[in-house]
Amino acid sequence: MSAATDRRPSPVEPSPGSPVLRRTRERPIGTARPNAVAYAVLGLGLVVVMSPFLWMALSSIKSEGEIRRVPPTWWPEAPTLDNFRELFERLDFPQFFTNSALVATAVTLGNLLFCSMLGYVLAKSDFAGKKLLFRVVLGTLMIPGMVTLVPLFVLVANMGLVNTYGGLILPFLAAPFGVFLMRQFFLGIPDELIDAARVDGASEARIFVQIVMPLAKPALATLAILTFLGSWNNFLWPLVVATTEDKYTLPVALALYSTGQNQTDYGLLLAGAVVVVVPVLVVFLLLQRYFVQGVAMTGIK
């Protein structure tokens, strides 16, 4: 970890009243002058990036007739919650929501535990087979998901786990990405700390539980959020494994609904999209700095 995250722009910007500080911190000589053009370009880009979200939210409270109008309206003329009401009456959304939450929570807890255990020994212990283990685990990051799809399905079917929570959860409990992220973090913990505990006779298990894990809270938070969202948005595998409605996750329900005979119930689809997206966006906005850390941690150096 390191430099990349440490040099992240501090959330506390220097006050405007300190021009000297400002000049050196924010605009080193030789970099572009902060200017209106930059703001305009970035602002325009942001409008383009955000408008699908805005449009989705605004249109979900329009009537079916208004959604279909040509030319399209931007602001809803007569806001209504009918789409949402109908959505919850027609579809078992609480069930889908519970399924999504249950699967994502289980997958997250599994990854936190298993990935940090392996990440810890990969970073802080020397043992026979370490290099090979690391290379094999990380090497699979490059293998397309398509390669494992069918053998995995056959395996899960043989285990009798099709259309069960086990089938939805087990294949994702231990992801190479998490090992990589945790290892990166653990490499940054001083060896002296761990060696001191070893010299004092602490077992590896005790060192892990009492020293390493408490230090790893920021990395664990990052991994938790990234894993949870990945699982929440996961789509292909649940689509294959969940065969009856009581096991559908939110994206599966929305996908089947939007490609089935209801394809033209625009209002319902948009309301469904809002229900899928909004919880995630709220979580993201509240915890966004962990995302930045996570991406920067695995990305650089």
């Binding site: 722009p9 026979a128 293998i143 494992t148 069918v150 190479p176 948005n233 966006l281 695995t298």
Partner: protein, 335 residues
């Protein structure tokens, strides 16, 4: 890095430095303890990842079809026949062409847009940085299914926002998703929209590592903003750019979700990707054939990554000293 100084059991008598690590009994004990830690992950990993990867390879060299699952003895070893068949399949060629189009246009476009935004965020503005960063990252955390619902509307020929906006400047937009010409550019635009948030954050972190002293010196010597970007920022950022190109490339070669939710590969297979074709073949029960195709895709990922290393890896030093720019897999971190 500790990985490089790995001790071998019984390698040598205790020296002065690092005696504990090289002491055989202790090393053996530590190996046992470490594998104890690794075990839960390894069991899950072998069962649900490594096992299926090998299984898939085994399938690729047989004529296995879905009905053979109940009668495994009917399966025959057919060597590389599946691979030959894949390469001769006109649908595969079409899909490969589409995937190449998507990757060759999509990856540079995504990298360029993300780098541009990251540079502006880094040096062009002083306020609202977090606000912009969060905004640009939002599509990354959004479910593809919801994205598809919304984008199908935006791209709708009459009721869609995009053609409406184009209409303001007098352009009559096409029926995006129903046009063999415009469906693929629509996919590329969507993928760019969805992927650039991650790259912006990676590039922002990379930009922190560009020494300001170089910029200052160059500015004093009269270098303009573009010259400094071209000759200072880009070369210093090369490892970061390479990393961004590699992860984007790996993702884009596997191009699947966009056509799956938006077009089902249409119109007239113009958005059929290799991954999507593979998925369809699995669906038809042609397991051996599809497994072979998935390995062709894997090979494409590896090749693309190698090409990117060639193009973007260190090359400024004439004597080709290779350093630092390593893939995720063996990236050494922290020191």
């Amino acid at each position: 890095m500790s990985t490089d100084t790995e001790a071998r059991p019984g390698a040598q008598a205790p020296g002065r430095a690092g005696t504990l690590r090289k002491h055989p009994p202790l090393y053996r004990r530590r190996t046992r303890a470490a594998w104890g830690f690794a075990l839960p992950f390894v069991i899950l990993f072998v069962t649900f990842t490594a096992g299926p990867v090998l299984m898939s390879l085994a399938m690729a060299v047989t004529d296995i079809r879905s009905r053979d699952l109940r009668n495994p003895f009917a399966v025959e070893f057919i060597g590389l026949d599946n691979f030959v068949a894949v390469l001769q399949d006109p649908m595969f060629r079409k899909a490969a062409g589409n995937t190449a189009y998507f990757v060759l246009v999509g990856v540079p476009l995504t990298l360029a847009v993300s780098l541009g935004i990251a540079v502006l965020l880094n040096a062009g503005i002083t306020r609202l940085k977090t606000f912009f960063r969060v905004g640009y990252y939002m599509p990354v955390v959004t479910s593809i299914v919801a994205v598809a619902v919304v984008w199908r509307f935006l791209l709708h020929p009459e009721q869609g926002l995009i053609n409406e906006v184009l209409g303001w400047v007098g352009i009559e937009g096409p029926n995006w998703l129903a046009s063999t010409t415009w469906a693929m550019p629509s996919m590329i635009a969507m993928a760019t929209w969805r992927s650039m948030g991650t790259l912006i954050i990676i590039f922002l972190a990379g930009l922190q590592g560009v020494p300001t002293a170089l910029h200052e010196a160059a500015a004093l010597d009269g270098a303009g903003a573009w010259q400094r970007f071209r000759h200072i920022t880009v070369p210093t950022m090369r490892p970061t750019l390479l990393f961004g190109a590699v992860i984007t490339g790996i993702g884009y070669v596997q191009f699947f979700e966009e056509p799956f939710v938006m077009t089902q590969g249409g119109p007239l297979n113009s958005t059929l990707s290799v991954a999507f074709h593979t998925y369809n073949q699995f669906g038809f029960g042609n397991y051996g054939y599809a497994a072979a195709m998935s390995y062709v895709l894997f090979l494409a990922v590896v090749l693309l990554t190698l090409v990117q290393f060639r193009l973007l890896g260190e090359r400024d030093t004439p004597r080709r000293r290779r350093r630092k720019a390593v893939p995720v897999a063996n990236k050494e971190v922290g020191r």
